[in-house]
């Protein structure tokens, strides 16, 4: 059957950057094809892994924080890695799992959202962004089955509903909306324990930031793959706050003070566990 010009034009009209790449420049997409036989599933590749991310709602928005450590087996691969990124003006993305793939995925996701915004002249809805991210994670499933999984935590301000919302994912791209707070990564069970005790509804922003840093501190205390605040190198977690005004990175100075307070109060308490 002869395709009409109108049909062709309509089929090519896409607002998705990924779709455009798939059609015109497939070689630029992260290669999701499974490895050739020879790499056994039993031996995961020695590549850096990013670990704990925490996120929670507060009065007027959400806060997301990530520690700065990447590990490669028992080695610390990086003390400076950043795992929380702004996805667009109203949303942020935290990544746990294989760092290389996660950073690639983040970059593609950022361009995807910006591309949509420029082509359509309007922002994608928060649910739309969350679903798009789910599809991208699902695309990575063959790699995940070989041990190179990426598990993101996505959070943003829903401008239509006027609230901050949180989404977690599994390796198949399943999207789960979380209430109140959530954490992902190897230290997440310790962080979640801390969040359950420290979080309460309608926290003011500065307290929410402090809770985020403290829950990461607890994760670092018990999980060797999570880095705690590092006063020697002056390294603090990366923290973003998103509210009606948009996403904002919390300044190093504020984080130094927040982390300083936590370390001081822990030192003063002189508790073992």
């Amino acid at each position: 059957m002869q395709e009409t010009t109108a049909n062709k034009v309509a089929a090519h009209a896409t607002s998705s950057f990924t779709e455009h790449l798939q059609r015109d420049r497939p070689e630029l997409l992260p290669q999701y094809a499974p490895f050739a036989a020879g790499t056994s599933a039993g031996q995961p590749l020695a590549v850096p892994h990013a670990t704990t991310i925490v996120a929670m709602t507060y009065a007027g928005g959400i806060v997301m924080a990530g520690d700065r450590r990447a590990t490669m087996g028992n080695i610390i691969a990086s003390r400076h890695i950043e795992k929380v990124f702004p996805a667009d003006q109203y949303s942020v993305l935290g990544i746990a799992g294989t760092a290389g793939i996660a950073i690639d995925l983040t970059r593609l996701f950022q361009v995807e959202l910006e591309h949509y915004e420029k082509i359509e002249g309007t922002l994608l809805s928060l649910d739309g962004k969350a679903n798009r991210l789910g599809a991208m994670i699902r695309g990575n499933l063959p790699m995940a089955l070989q041990g190179l999984a990426v598990v993101p935590l996505f959070a943003g301000f829903d401008t239509a509903a006027g609230v901050g919302r949180l989404f977690s994912y599994d390796v198949t791209g399943g999207r789960y909306e979380e209430q109140e707070h959530h954490a992902v990564g190897s230290g997440s069970m310790f962080a979640r324990g801390a969040l359950k005790k420290l979080w309460r509804p309608n926290l003011p922003e500065d307290e929410a930031i402090s809770v985020a840093v403290e829950s990461l501190y607890d994760a670092a205390d018990d999980d060797s793959a999570t880095g705690g605040p590092d006063p020697v190198r002056q390294l603090w977690p990366v923290v973003y706050a998103v509210n009606r005004a948009g996403a904002r990175r919390v300044s190093e100075r504020d984080l130094a003070a927040t982390a300083g307070n936590i370390i001081e109060s822990r030192a003063a308490a002189r508790r073992e566990a």
């Binding site: 950057f17 455009h20 790449l21 015109d24 420049r25 630029l28 003006q89 970059r107 593609l108 361009v111 910006e114 591309h115 420029k118 082509i119 002249g121 904002r248």
Partner: protein, 235 residues
Amino acid sequence: MTQQFYVSPEQLMKDRADFARKGIARGRSVIVVSCEDGIALVAENPSPSLHKIGEIYDKIAFAAVGKYNEFESLRQAGVRYADVRGYSYDREDVTARGLASVYAQSLGAVFTAEQKPFEVELAVAEVGASQDLDHLYRLTFDGSIADEHNFIVMGGQADKVSGAIEGGWQRDLSFAAAIRLAVKGLMTDNEAPDLLAKALEVAVLDRSSESSRGTRRAFRRLSDQDVVELLAEES
């Protein structure tokens, strides 16, 4: 079988150029002005959603006159070109020069090879760290490209409007002053005594977006409210 009439290539190109020019002359003007704060883009456009001015990339904006479907497809192609390039190399490797030459090639190809040339005129603007590093490119329907300085006026009464802008343009204009100047220029092209903010489409490329707004995306569309305030202000 009917014999085709012979038409000389000169005549063919001339007819096409005349056709395109007529199409463009029906449209209302768009003005791009480089000033101290950045680059201001002002268009007379009553529609709040069908834009003549758009964002292409971090420092690059697009403005067009002519047929909407034609320049909209060029704008989208530009966004795709820029996003692919920025994604595969780096964000700073996307330049107005590269984009303009891609546009010049596509417009040139359409002009010579297609049934009908595009009835559009485009401006590609890139804001630099200083005014001397600003780039303004004007592209016409036949794929010719010109590197302009200070400002570009396109559309219906471009000559008349251009004269008005030329008279008032200075290096140290603020955004507010540049937009007021552009609106004054547009009014020479219009029978109506004054232009309402609703009939204007205004956007800016902010020279200091990184320090003032914390974003590398310099493009900002002004709301009707902003435009009303700007026009009311006296310099």
